[in-house]
């Protein structure tokens, strides 16, 4: 379903990147990186509703659409989907983010995970892979 799922720390360093096909992962990383601009701008101008963490579509190219989500601790989640995929509605994307957020919260609760480290948790990976393949 999604092409790529990424977690970016509050200092904008990637903490987790998983993509469906590794061949275009680099290009997607470039795109996610440039989408951070729009996230930063949205964070700076201040969201009206603090509870709304979903940022919507940030950036689109001919091939990809980048969606963003930012937690209250400024950790950013990105989901990249294929531009030609018209089946995915906003609600489904929101659902993906919610699942990611839950998985991330669980990861944070793990006392053996040090916040800020690269995410290597198998559980988190499983959730992310589930989002990529669309069978969760």
């Amino acid at each position: 379903m999604a092409l790529c799922v990424a977690v970016v720390s509050k200092e904008n360093a990637p903490k987790y990147v998983a993509s469906l096909n590794p061949a275009d992962e680099l290009q997607i990383q470039y795109e996610i990186h440039s989408s951070i601009d729009f996230v930063e701008e949205k964070l700076k101008t201040g969201k009206k509703d603090m509870r709304e963490l979903y940022l919507g579509q940030l950036y689109s190219t001919e091939d990809h659409k980048v969606y963003g989500y930012v937690t209250n601790t400024k950790v950013k989640f990105f989901v990249v989907i294929d531009s030609s995929n018209l089946l995915l509605r906003d609600n489904e994307i929101r659902f993906m983010f919610r699942k990611l957020h839950t998985a991330y919260t669980e990861l944070m609760c793990n006392p053996f995970y040090i916040p800020g480290d690269y995410i290597t948790s198998e559980n988190f990976d499983k959730v992310a892979r589930g989002i990529l393949t669309g069978n969760s």
């Binding site: 200092e11 360093a13 470039y30 989408s35 729009f38 701008e41 916040p115 800020g116």
Partner: protein, 1101 residues
């Protein structure tokens, strides 16, 4: 071969049109008045509110464009938009023709003038050949029109002129040449503007008429053309709303045209032009959102209309142009109005344009790469003279033979391909579009988007074989991505940069990048990187990077062979602040003194295989001096392998000249390889801030405290001030804290030379330091001897030289007049010679803290002569002042003397004053009382005077000199009384022995006083004297009353009470009298038992 230019937006389309006005009869070269009229039309004054007009000189040589032949029935045209039409209306087809003519109403040769003028009008009218351009005559007159007197002649003559010229009277204007030509010009402009509007409206009506006769099926081209014309006339009229409406209709009709391979290019070109006009109008009407949606639908419609596949590149060129056109329009028009946002700014369109330019390049590469010959028939020859926009030049070629139509078409396409292959610099256009996009994204605060575009730009530079530019761009981007921790991207960029560095044979960059690469590479690549660094040290050509073809490799090898740096330079210095490698250093200045400086260098290295360095040095700088300190030269201690932190310590002796200055560890240098080879010096600058290190957010939560972490946490200390040698003189400061307020407080400093050689130029410097508040300086006095002058702070006490073991004393006195604690800074400085006879300055600072306390608490009470406290005093009555001194000082205080400084009007009562406290010693918390009796002699201010105590500390060892306390006597109200009573009694009486009492009644007023005096007898006395008496007392005189009393009882007895009443009614006086009697008369007297002199003795005898 011709200079063919591909699709573009022509200048006449891009300008914003305004009504064209032709000016005739103005000789701007020779006639100053004409010149000023011309200038007035072009002056920028008040431009915003003035009509926008386009003036041009209608000279006699000017030829109006030939009119197209009028056809009764609309025919089928060969194309959509004629290329010359827009330009014609912008530059050559005026809406209004203005004929200026010098002529006054009262001109002598009026008739000649009239005929000359009319002939001019006629000739111009002829040259118009039936055009509907409005003709206007402006008479330039030297006089102001006189309205009243000459009215009839004026109207007559005006009418005759109009008739002669066959002119509408409304088209005749008068322009008086006066001072305010500007105002007249504006009025004329408005008139011209109205006429132009009228003209264009007429044109529109004419076109609309023709439009109505057209049928949608057969005249699609004409419909488009006429709609366009209406739109353009409206634009000339400055009617943007209608212009947009008609352009839009025009665009819609264009979309209805069926397209074939033959006309698709023309349709696309015309569509582009119409969309340009629409976008431009929408932006200028501040409807950016509509412009965006219009443009998007335009692109959606035409994106798929590729046309002949062999001209695919042309389609992409067209698309790229669309985007770049729209982006520039967007940029121009939104620059002021801020309608663009970060999410929707011109940058995106430039980016899209660049993307299509890339596609164009790819398709051109695919389609055209084998086209190497320009067709002999020269099919592009007449591209510049085609009649319609967007048509193919070869189809216009004369002598077209129907049979070879296909050949010609093929030739044309071939020519375009050839042109695309050889004449178009794709990279350049891609780079410039990307550059524009970057500029936009920078403006709209998208630094990362800009980075992405920069990477793409570098890609294009690389493709264009401009490796050095690509290298610069990529390496800058590498830093940005690396600093934000995007390793995958950084890894890719390192690869790309290394290729460039190899291809340009840039040794410096090549080594830097290889060092950087160590961080990303694994296994084989990493070995190769290290090996390549090794070959550079050996001055050998490194192995080529992966993914280069043979041709590139060969060129690169040649460049490496020619590389000067490899041959001539002896050391290769690498600035490690720009690279982020697996080696890092930190430095801590550990011990900094004038004898030696100790530096700790920490080095963290991580190499998969053992790497041996040759030298570790530190470069320490002072302001104008620098030291190269060798930290470690033993290469056996400089072998590094897997991640570990190493520590090195070194010491060096600074030069005495640098004392007092700041020393800084400027850089740490780690050398790889040795001198005859080409050693690489890694320079770690300590001052430049290292790139953001990504500390883990909660480092302290980490379980293992590896040496890695320790290194990260270590704080560098890179600079320190080299302090002077510290003093070794013994210094004892003696003083008895706290000081007392206003005493001369003694501080003595005892110096002993404990150095092993004589010292000279000893100086003590005493100053108040910063802890004090501001007022302290004003309330502190200082002196060497209280009898001499006071000194001002800071004070220098020169002590001179001291031999070994000498002892010297310096004392000084401080007087404080406020209670703040004082912080003094006592600095001793001197010079001493070292073994080589060089003078070394030594200093030492000591802080002296002095608290100040109060000595006495003095309070004064006032009493009447009867020892009763009083609240006010009366002139002439005696007053007793009792100052009470309470000692608060922690030390016993010796009172030297006390004194009163009384005000002039206060006299000491008879009997004088003698201090009773002289030479009394008061211990802490003890009190002493002084007493004095005074009489205020006249009414004056309530000031009584001062009471002063001179004192000093009673223990003589403290050496503190005298102080004084001074108290201003508290104020008390003084009253003048008109009547005083006084009495004279003996100190005591004897039983059964008569005694006399005298009352004195003083009248102090200036009037006669009549009083009734009565004495109230009592049982204690028998009394002789007036019992009831009326007394009259003269002004300023005294009346005496004598009484003899015979005491009847022993002990304290009540005296007979005197009552005084006044004849006058005033109650006031009565009260005063009673008050005064109570206050000043004694009420009791002590009566002793009967005095029996000697008689008892006689009895016993």
């Amino acid at each position: 071969m011709v200079d063919y230019r591909e699709f573009d937006f022509p200048a006449e389309l891009c300008c914003s049109p305004s009504p064209l006005i032709a000016i005739a009869g103005l000789d701007t070269v020779n006639n100053a008045i004409h010149r000023s009229i011309w200038d007035a039309f072009h002056s920028p004054v008040g431009r915003e509110s003035r009509a926008v007009l386009n003036f041009f000189h209608l000279t006699s040589e000017f030829k109006f464009p030939t009119m197209s032949e009028k056809q009764l029935m609309p025919n089928i045209p060969k194309g959509i938009l004629k290329r010359n039409w827009i330009e014609k209306h912008i530059h050559y087809d005026p809406a209004v023709i203005v004929i200026f003519y010098d002529c006054d109403w009262d001109d002598e040769s009026w008739n000649e003038k009239i005929s000359e003028c009319s002939s001019r009008v006629q000739s111009i009218r002829l040259s118009l050949e039936g055009r509907k351009s409005r003709i206007v005559v402006v008479l330039i007159q030297k006089q102001l029109p006189i309205l009243a007197s000459d009215d009839t002649t004026t109207t007559e003559r005006a009418a005759s002129l109009c008739v002669a010229c066959n002119l509408d009277p409304k088209a005749l204007f008068i322009l008086p040449v006066v001072d305010n030509i500007h105002g007249y010009a504006i009025r004329l402009e408005n008139a011209f503007y109205d006429l132009a509007q009228n003209y264009y409206q007429h044109q529109i009506r004419a076109v609309k008429l023709k439009l109505e006769n057209l049928s949608k099926t057969s005249h699609q081209y004409l419909i488009v053309r006429y709609e366009f014309k209406i739109g353009f006339y409206n634009e000339l009229k400055q009617d943007h709303h209608n212009a947009h409406k008609h352009y839009h209709q025009c665009y819609m009709s264009l979309l209805e045209i069926r397209t074939f391979d033959t006309n698709i290019y023309e349709v696309k070109v015309v569509a582009a032009y119409i969309v340009y006009k629409i976008s431009r109008l929408l932006f200028s009407m501040k409807r950016a959102r509509d412009a965006l949606s219009q443009f998007n639908s335009h692109i959606n419609v035409f994106k798929s209309m590729i046309g002949p596949p062999e001209l695919m590149f042309e389609h992409y060129a067209w698309l790229s142009k669309q985007f770049s056109m729209f982006a520039s329009l967007f940029d121009e028009t939104t620059a002021e109005s801020f309608t663009a946002t970060q999410a929707m700014n011109p940058g995106f369109f430039f980016k899209e344009a660049a993307e299509y330019a890339k596609k164009r390049k790819d398709s051109a590469y695919n389609i055209c790469q084998d086209v190497n010959v320009y067709p002999a028939s020269n099919p592009l020859n007449e591209w510049n003279s085609i009649e319609f926009y967007g048509q193919r030049p070869w189809r216009l070629m004369k002598n077209i033979n129907i049979t070879d139509y296909d050949t010609i078409e093929a030739d044309g396409i071939l020519a375009l391909k050839y042109y695309e292959n050889y004449k178009v610099d794709h990279s350049k256009s891609i780079i410039s579009l990307l550059g524009n996009a970057m500029k936009q994204f920078k403006n709209y605060k998208c630094p990362r988007m800009r980075n992405l575009l920069a990477v793409q730009m570098a890609d294009e530079y690389y493709n264009a074989k401009d490796y050095s530019k690509a290298l610069t761009l990529w390496s800058h981007m590498l830093w940005d991505y690396r600093d934000e921790g995007w390793k995958a991207i950084a890894h890719e960029l390192v690869n790309k940069c290394l290729k460039c560095a190899y291809l340009t044979a840039s040794v410096q960059n090549y080594v830097e990048l290889n060092l950087e690469a160590l961080k990303y590479y694994k296994n084989d690549d990493l070995q190769k990187s290290l090996a390549n660094i090794g070959s550079i040290i050996q001055r050998q050509i490194p192995e080529p990077e992966n993914g280069l073809d043979e041709y590139e490799k060969n060129i690169a090898v040649q460049m490496w062979q020619k590389c000067d740096a490899m041959k001539s330079k002896s050391v290769l210095e690498i600035d490690m602040s720009v690279t982020n490698s697996t080696v890092d250093t930190k430095v801590v200045l550990k011990d900094v003194s004038c004898d030696s400086i100790e530096i700790d260098v920490f080095l963290k290295a991580n190499f998969p295989i053992l790497v041996q360095f040759s030298k570790l040095t530190a470069c320490v700088t002072c302001i104008d001096n620098s030291y190269d300190v060798e930290v470690c030269t033993d290469s056996s201690k400089l072998i590094y392998g897997e991640s570990k932190t190493y520590k090195y310590t070194c010491k060096f002796v600074p030069s005495p000249n640098d004392i007092g200055k700041e020393i800084t560890v400027n850089s740490i240098q780690l050398q790889l390889g040795n001198e005859p080879d080409f050693p690489i010096m890694l320079k770690f600058y300590s001052s430049t801030k290292k790139t953001k290190s990504f500390e883990r957010e909660m480092n302290n939560f980490s379980l293992s405290k590896t040496s890695d972490d320790e290194f990260e946490r270590m704080k560098q200390i890179t600079s320190a001030t080299l302090k002077p040698r510290s003093s070794r003189l013994g210094m004892v400061i003696k003083h008895d804290n706290p000081a007392l307020l206003l005493e001369w407080y003694n501080v003595s400093v005892c110096l002993t030379n404990l150095e092993d050689r004589p010292v000279s130029d000893i100086c003590l410097n005493l100053s108040l330091n910063r802890n004090n508040n501001e007022k302290v300086e004003l309330s502190t006095e200082i002196c060497e001897d209280p009898d001499k002058n006071t000194l001002s702070l800071p004070v220098d006490f020169k002590i001179g030289n001291m031999l070994v073991g000498d002892e010297k004393n310096q004392s000084f006195f401080i007087r404080s007049s406020s209670l703040d604690t004082r912080y003094f800074q006592l600095m001793i400085s001197y010079t001493i010679e070292d073994n080589n006879g060089i003078k070394i300055a030594c200093v030492k600072d000591v802080e002296i803290i002095i608290d100040v306390v109060v000595v006495f608490d003095i309070s004064v009470t006032y009493m009447s002569s009867r020892f009763e406290p009083v609240s006010k005093i009366h002139i002439g009555e005696s007053l007793i002042m009792v100052p009470c001194i309470k000692c608060l000082s922690p030390w016993p205080i010796f009172i030297e003397n006390t004194s009163f400084q009384l005000a002039e009007h206060i006299a000491v009562s008879p009997g004088g004053y003698q201090s009773v406290l002289n030479e009394v010693v008061l211990e802490s918390d003890e009190s002493a009382t002084e007493i004095i009796c005074v009489t205020p002699s006249e009414h004056s201010e309530n000031v009584l005077g001062c009471f002063t105590v001179n004192w000093k500390r009673s223990n003589m060892e403290s050496n503190c000199k005298s102080g004084y306390s001074c108290l201003e006597l508290p104020k008390i109200t003084t009253e003048k009384s008109t009547f005083l009573v006084d009495m004279k009694t003996p100190a005591h009486g004897w039983l059964h022995t008569p005694m006399s009492i005298v009352y004195f009644l003083h009248n102090n007023s200036e009037s006669l006083l009549t009083l009734n005096i009565s004495m109230e007898a009592n049982e204690a006395f028998m009394m002789a004297g007036h019992k009831d008496l009326n007394v009259t007392i003269l002004p300023e005189s005294t009346y005496k009353l004598h009484y003899n009393l015979y005491p009847l009882v022993v002990g304290v007895s009540t005296l007979p009470k005197m009552h005084i009443s006044c004849n006058s009614e005033s109650n006031d006086l009565k009260n005063i009298l009673n008050d005064m009697l109570l206050r000043s008369l004694q009420t009791h007297i002590y009566i002793m038992p009967k005095h029996v002199p000697t008689s008892t003795a006689e009895i016993f005898n």
